[in-house]
Amino acid sequence: MVQKLEYLRESPSQTAGPYVHIGCMPNFTGIDAYGGDLGTHMKTGPVQGQEITITGIVYDGMNTPLRDAMIEIWQPDAAGLFPSANETRGQPDPNFTGWGRSPGDSSTGEFAFHTVKPGAVPYPDGRMQAPHITAWVVARGINIGLHTRIYFEDEVDSNAADPILSRIEHPSRIPTLLAKKTGEGAYRFDIYLQGPNETIFFDI
């Protein structure tokens, strides 16, 4: 008897369109619902580690800010533990959600996340990855959400040893993944969809 592998195919992606905020951040659009938008607050109490703010803008190929994007981030706590059901390595910070969602400012497009500096987490082969935040961008004109990572320019040694940063073929592009330190606890991470500074996006 022939055995046939009957796997399903992932549902095809479609653009989030210009009104993604209606569905994911309705309060931001003036539709009062749910008692507040999900992902607005990443800290629910006193948190461990260094509190930081990351701001940035998503730019299109004409260097125009996107003002209808939605940016989500996901990261471990300061100890490198994910506030997730499938975290088995320890007890994550109970006052930290690890997940943030920002619509960006409606006139400037600037997004902001008030979070904590993440700890390092292991790569599947056991090496340590440099501290990083996973980011995902959707908007009108983006057919499938874009995954990238926010590393930190002041983590020089761990960045040099990071298994993913070190496999990038064009080292000149690595800075597109590094948040710039702009002050105490303040970082800047702009995202370029196209052009000479195009951010590295991931197929993961």
Partner: protein, 245 residues
């Protein structure tokens, strides 16, 4: 209560089945599509974990767009429908505890948004957003009115098919997905540059909900079935897996 002891990697995404970033007939994609190759690597904990959204997150009317924005004693205008289905992974397993968010235009094809320019009337009793969490078998359902097709500034006279937007949050950040649901028989589907970005009739069919007369509520609502598939993960699922985890 046994929790998952290990997390496996997600199977690679089939990029030939997914839409290309650059689809010039959908004009906005021209300046918003990355040009360089994506960087591939196996998923790590950053992609294999995700936040938990429990059933206690959901309010009583969150999955009822007919009533969740309506004034007391009133309801949204339009053909009343039920949308239901299952969220599965590529191995066909139900995905419990997935956050499903949805948004749509009203029955006239107009969104409740300050940037909306279509002159169809706003329905004072329709907000256009809802959400739910999938049950233990991955099933979900919500009630709404069938959205109308509407014109949009892409070509001279482009109209979007009637559709509902879906945002899915499963068990790993790598599964994150936003898509749209179309309605069986809508003649606008084959004219739409966004649906056409799929360049594959089977993929479009996978996003086309089917009328299910057995699930209707007689003299009340028709029903459309829409299953959604998230990426598969190499991990053991336990039958006593806690709901919502």
């Amino acid at each position: 209560m046994s929790l998952i002891k290990q997390t496996g990697g997600f199977v690679p995404r089939d990029r030939s089945w997914q839409p290309d970033a650059l689809t010039p007939t959908y004009k906005t994609s021209i300046k918003r599509s990355p040009q360089a190759a994506l960087l591939s690597f196996p998923t790590t904990l950053s992609e294999e974990t995700s936040p938990v959204f429990g059933h206690n997150l959901i309010g009583e009317l969150d999955n009822d767009l007919i009533l969740n924005y309506a004034h007391a004693g009133e309801s949204a205008i339009g053909p009343r429908i039920i949308v239901y289905g299952r969220v599965l992974d590529e191995m066909g397993r139900g995905v419990p505890g997935a956050l499903v968010e949805f948004w749509q235009a009203n029955a006239g094809g107009r969104y409740r948004h300050k940037k909306e320019s279509y002159l169809a009337a706003l329905d004072p009793n329709f907000g256009g957003c809802g959400r739910t969490i999938t049950a233990e078998d991955g099933s979900y359902e919500f009630r709404t009115v069938q959205p109308g097709p509407y014109p949009w500034p892409n070509g001279m006279n482009d109209w979007r098919p009637a559709h509902i937007h879906f945002s899915l949050f499963g068990h790993g950040f790598a599964q994150r997905l936003i898509t749209q649901m179309y309605f069986e028989g809508d003649p606008h589907i084959k004219l739409c540059p966004i649906a056409g970005a799929l360049n594959n009739q089977k993929a479009i069919d996978a996003l086309t909900a089917l009328l299910d007369m057995h699930r209707t509520v007689p003299m009340d609502s028709r029903a459309f079935k829409f299953d959604i598939v998230l990426r598969g993960q190499r991990q053991t699922y336990f039958e006593n897996r806690k709901e919502g985890l």
